[in-house]
Symmetry: C2
Subunit: 567 residues, 2 copies
């Protein structure tokens, strides 16, 4: 397992991911035998299912007329328009579990007809003008890591569609040290952006789980939030300026840190998911590379107590840079403390199975995390200037200890950090065994959080249990605000006969539960196509009307990501 | 001078302001004789000019048909539709200096035909539906403190216009202590909101200079920023939810502290200036009333050095709750250190005149602030938990002292706080003497700030000097961000023959200078009608198109504040 480095910069050597999953093949490893045994005891049937071979993948016939292909090539160069099968398959949908299940089964029916790689903002503009004229649907493509169907546009079967891959917009532009801002090309992936900034002693501090492949433009277009949001802010907090190419022209936003010159239109492009325009450059706030980093592990008596402690920290302006509180089931599942190479077997799959088993028997006695006690696992992390970081850690520790938390061994924090990017790899290992694993997230104000947590957990567990799929539903809080927090759910269960249909039903029940409890339908995964049924409940019919009016203004031909965000 | 209290709550007994200026008559006092002498020496002619009597004010004939008036009365009750002269005059325009000059001269040509006071959200909705049907223009009216022409809509001469005064929407709704949020009626003025919250031990911490009269809805609609923004945030930071009445229906926004469910549409209503809908309720983040408050005064060697020190503080996450750095001229003008009752005469007018005189002679020897040295006046303030506040103050002091700042006497900070709401009263005293005084503000990233400062200062001084008006141009920084800061300019000069025309020319030059230097056309005063010429430069033609599309969606009849923000 090579992915054990702690720094961002050392991770930029990743090669292209497998076309049917996450990360390069060299990083894949099977689930340990013990874990398989546990899955069996839990009644989750293991049914090894390898992905089909690339040559077996079924692609729809390409619908892009030759004249249009030539016109695109005239803009970006012949070498930057790809119509071969692998390019189309690699740009088919995103990386949700249902996306992967379809790809693994050889279903690439949503593949674009061509992949176009513009070199710069002006080429993007020209492609959008051409596409508007020729009525070609355009899917802006960053890292391809959407988990909400954000890369599967709805359009008439006969309409051509191209993936607009922004990989070549990968420059670090102006570094304004005085203002603490940098210009970043939209196609920069997380590791490459980090490496370029590190050369200047700077960091974004934006580390979502998708960081290895997701891009700057995608972070902005989806309102991404990283694991260190408590210290550095969400990505939307980091954006001070945007350059956008739309079908009707260029748009530059952001002349000051704050303004009263009308509505903040940056906030209209953030979260626009490629439906209003293509973000080609982000001007982002950066900070000095941290001189000191501390990661700690804690055990709190239970999830409710832990939640109250996090609220206390947030209200006291004492948010850690990183903060992740696992509920009882996730604690036993060990999601926040993956195994060390050669260490004891508390792998995600193992723990997950244990969690389900124990939860079914006696949640209070789940003790995989610490045989001596139950409780919930809490990770806290701090980055910054040494003295500031140490003081903050001490202050947080004071609140936690006073609230009944117990400090875990010194390795507990670093263990989380070492495994922070592993979950999507482990999902591939579970899928290889025919086991379903997926996540969803929400957020709410503190007062709504307990009911939101119980409502979503019960909706997921109830729905999947009723289908006989032996679900394990785990949850953690990982983004704190003064007024509330996020909830992130992980589900592991049997696939059954129709895993896609089962998950859609479960996710539907979860979406209804979120709306009923007053939460947001998505905290950082975006709307895509999957969350559209609840968007009206979230922003009102008027909100949907407003978004449609904005789309008509910026994309009058409706070519951009049709059906994503709004119809 | 009764306005010497330090707390918010004691200030809620203010009576209605004079119709031609700011605050109640009981708070008005003439400029001291010494100040008048200085103005004379500076060549600024004193020309006492009292406002005309209320009976002399010229009003346009009321254009509201009786049937429409009756229909409005059927919605809000007969006693809540006012068509008498004083009500119309009191709702005529805002409180910019050009607004006051016109009122004082008896020009109420922009007065609404009627003033309507709805009781609640549903009545606002009904009024908007009626107005849409009858094509009656509606000016949402909070505190009436706009200084950018935000209450002077452009509409055909024959179109009726009503002021929709939200004063009756003044309830404190649900107090959610767990989430730290409260529901506030849009018509609540600053002092009343503070008093209601203080009963719960809570505060908004939002204290702009207009606080005595401005309202919660107005704060939201204009993206207000208060003197304590460094600690509590801008008002747009404090808003977690909005209830809006639009001509096409109700709109509720804000289900979580943060979300990825598309663009943040709260940010589209914040700064919408009544052009998209009427904000009837704000759900705002609140904090505990501060246990400890510290205000300190400093002298820094010069404005450039002070600016760099503030940047250092912001980058180190050491922003004071309140921070105001005066430039050399404002320091001499004493705007940040008004006179104590019975103390030495360093009143705003006096200091202003001194500033002009000295600036004309030798800026380096301006010594009104401290006879021993020149330099720039800096006020820092801290509010919160005692130990936190004291530590923060000590840390900031360390940075300031290391950077060449000198601590002033212990009264310097409290002196600023005591006078924090006085400027608009002193403007009235100057206008009584025929002297012009007005402000404008901008913001930019740190790297642009020096050129922005010089450009605007020189544009204002150059423009007014060329007209022979002996201007004094003062500036301070009062809102810090990690990536930049605001600049707030105060101008005092002779009125000349055409003060309104002169100021428009000067403000035009300043607006052009702001755009040329890359700043925002307004940091917290909003767009109104006055800043519209530069809105396209700020947000692009596409931005203006987007705002128009939103307006057409929410206000298809175009009755809401026509000509404000967008046409």
């Amino acid at each position: 397992m090579a992915l054990t480095s702690t720094g961002e910069v050392r991770r930029i050597g990743l090669t292209e991911p497998v076309w049917w999953g996450w990360g390069p093949a060299s990083e894949h490893e099977p689930l340990p035998d013990e874990a398989r045994g546990l899955l069996a005891r839990l009644g989750i049937p293991v049914r090894p299912t390898a992905p089909v071979g690339l040559a077996q993948v079924r692609l729809p016939p390409a619908r892009l007329p030759a004249a249009a292909r030539d016109a695109l090539a005239a803009i970006v160069g012949l070498g930057h328009v790809h119509t071969h099968d692998e390019a189309r398959i690699r740009h088919c949908r995103g990386r949700s579990t249902t996306d992967l299940l379809r790809l693994r089964a050889g279903d690439a029916s949503a593949a674009p007809d061509a992949v176009v790689l513009p070199a710069d903002h002006d080429e993007v503009l020209a492609v959008l003008r051409l596409a508007s004229r020729e009525r070609i649907a355009v899917v802006p493509f960053g890292g391809g890591t959407s988990v909400v169907g954000g890369l599967e546009p709805a359009r008439p079967a006969e309409q051509p569609v191209v993936a607009l891959d922004l990989a070549r917009l990968d420059a670090l532009g102006r570094v304004d040290r005085e203002s603490g801002t940098v210009e970043l090309g939209a196609g920069l992936r997380g590791p490459r952006a980090a490496a370029l900034l590190a050369e200047h002693g700077l960091t974004l501090g934006h580390i979502p789980q998708s960081w290895e492949y997701a891009t700057i433009g995608g972070f902005a277009a989806t309102r991404s939030s990283g694991q260190a949001s408590g210290g550095y802010g969400r990505f939307d907090d980091l954006v001070v300026g945007l350059r956008v190419a739309t079908p009707v022209g260029s748009w530059e936003l952001g002349r000051a840190p704050a303004s009263a010159a009308g509505p903040d239109l940056r906030e209209l492009m953030l979260g626009s998911e490629g439906a209003f325009g293509v973000i080609t450059q982000v001007v982002a706030r950066v900070r000095p590379l941290p001189a000191r980093r501390i990661f700690e592990g804690w055990s709190v008596p239970d999830f409710a107590t832990g939640t109250r402690l996090l609220r206390t920290l947030a209200a006291a302006d004492l948010r850690p840079t990183v903060c992740r509180l696992s509920d009882e089931t996730e604690t036993v599942g060990g999601l926040a403390r993956p195994p060390r190479p050669g260490g004891p077997a508390v792998a995600i799959g193992t723990g997950t199975a244990e969690a389900a088993q124990n939860a079914a028997q006696n949640a209070a006695q789940n003790t995989a995390q610490d045989p001596a006690q139950g409780g919930c696992h809490l990770v806290t992390g701090y980055e910054g200037v040494g003295s500031v970081v140490e003081r903050r850690a001490a202050e947080v520790a004071g609140v936690l200890l006073a609230g009944g938390a117990r400090r875990l061994d010194a390795a507990a924090g670093p263990d989380w950090e070492r495994g922070r990017f592993r979950a999507p790899y482990l999902r591939d290992a579970l899928l290889d065994l025919g086991i379903f694993a997926e996540t969803l997230e929400t957020a709410g104000f503190w007062a709504t959080l307990p009911a939101l947590y119980a409502g979503v957990r019960d909706a997921l567990a109830g729905s999947l249990s009723a289908m006989g799929l032996s679900p394990v539903v785990m949850c953690h809080i990982s983004h704190l605000y003064e007024t509330g927090a996020s909830l992130y759910f992980t589900v592991v269960c049997a696939q059954g006969e129709d895993p896609i249909g089962s998950w859609r039903a479960a996710k539907g029940a979860a979406g209804d539960a979120i709306v009923a409890a007053g939460g947001t339908i998505t905290h950082h995964h975006a709307v895509g196509t999957e969350h559209r049924p609840w968007l009206g409940a979230e922003i009102g019919d008027l909100g949907v009307d407003v978004l449609r009016a904005v789309k008509r203004t910026l994309d009058p031909a409706g070519i951009l990501n049709p059906g994503i965000l709004v119809g």
